[in-house]
């Protein structure tokens, strides 16, 4: 019997998807369905903002920035 589930389809790089999967392991509160390809998954609609904020924060910490000094 087919079912329909409400959610947000997320399209992203494999690296980002890996991070989302890792977040979800903690409390299983993000993912509705892992779509088993490299760059898609479905998450809960209500979680988008917090997910984005968390991603941005982590990316800021982890990605090394070249030439980001504001000096001359």
């Amino acid at each position: 019997m087919p079912r329909a589930v409400r959610g947000l389809l997320i399209e992203c790089d494999p690296s980002i998807k890996a991070m989302i999967l890792k977040y979800d392991e903690e409390r299983h509160d993000y993912i509705v369905e892992d779509l088993d390809d490299e760059n898609h998954l479905v998450i809960k609609e209500s979680q988008l903002q917090s997910l984005k904020a968390r991603l941005d924060q982590d990316l800021d910490e982890k990605i090394m920035q070249l030439d980001d000094s504001e000096s001359e």
Partner: protein, 477 residues
Amino acid sequence: MAAPTSRSLEYLEGLPGTTFFKLYQQPSTALAIFRRMLPDLAKCFVMALLYLKDPLPTQDLELWVKTESKKQRDNALSILGRLHILSTTLTGENARAYMVTNPFASSLRQALMGSEDSQSFGVFSQAPGESLISIADLDEYARGRWESVLGYMVGTSALSGQRDVNLSKGVKQLLQAGHLVEIRDRRVDITKDGFGFVLQDVNTQVWHILILYVESAEAIGMDSVEVLSFLFLLSSLELGQSYEKEQLSSVQLRTLADLADFGIIYQETPEATRFYPTRLATTLTSDSSALSSTVGSSLTGASAHPGASGSGFIIIETNYRLYAYTSSPLQISLISLFTTLKYRFPNLVTGKITRQSVRRAIDMGITADQIISYLYSHAHTQLRKRDASLSTSNTTSIPPSVLPPTVTDQIRLWQLERDRLRATAGFLFKDFTSLQEYQAPCQYAAEIGVLVWKSDRKRMFFVTRHEQVAAFLRSKK
């Protein structure tokens, strides 16, 4: 200059047919729509059909356009149809034929050939002109007004202190109603829409405001059609001329007073017997982008330097340093939205576009394209000159660019970095028992254009809307 056209066009297309019927009664409206809203090919069609006695069979019209330009032809015809300018009828031989609809056709003919005593294009003031206003004064007035509106939005009025003009209550309410600003704790906060707005070119901004005005006109008891057709009238007036107010209706007089607050028209006092359109009004429906770019710069940056009129003021180097020759608090605060400013001199501010500053802007809701188009439209003549010499010396087909490509690309990349994921709201269909059961609804979803993603292997697909697909599934049972 496609943006203002599309914005006003979109609004017009949303109007009901009866509104068009009333609008097209005025020759000035017909002419303004013809001049401003139509693509060139559509203008050709209208001109060719305007003086024909009988409707022209569709096949004949199709012959005028080469087959490889079919897309442009269909686009032109569809715009003409949506604006209720062209209609199809049947000829005597039962063939489909095009004709220009009537209030539009007769009004446009009247606009082109003139008529006895039409007041559709305003009436020149005959009063002895001891206090004639020069075009330069009008520009100065319009600029001051418009800048104070923008300044109010970005909150510079507090900075510069003596900004001479106080905005009327109506202006503030309109900006609020259009969600360009929000009032929180009696403080003015600009919204995301507002940020987009202030970075646009002046002509687009004026259209945006005017459409908001027309939309809100009904609420304060004015006939929106009358207001709209009055705007078209204003747009066809001549810069530097004064016009009589005597023949105007009460609605038009009220509109006039409101538009004076924006600097779109000028009158010495609200009781004066005549008014002047400013450049903001007369370029509304003009097609010449050169004119509007002059307005753009004369209205914004270069005004502080009369010598450099008609040119931009921003120089940006390949190392992301930015030099802006301006002393306008408005421009400085606009630039500071996406630049880390470093030094400020009496006529120059310098800064650097950094990853941080661009991200800050993007967090506020400004897009990379808005930043780039702002930089482009205010680029200094030196940048444009360099560009011209490059494009003549080098004949390869590298598209000329005024701004350093490294900078524009990097701004876009910084935005992309921010958008690491793309989210689409919708519904996931799953748990299909067989491949056949999965394929039919999936294909159906693709046909009606709601399918976003599918996986044959997992027998799942994702759609933006589920109602039709669900109904399809039920009907299959």
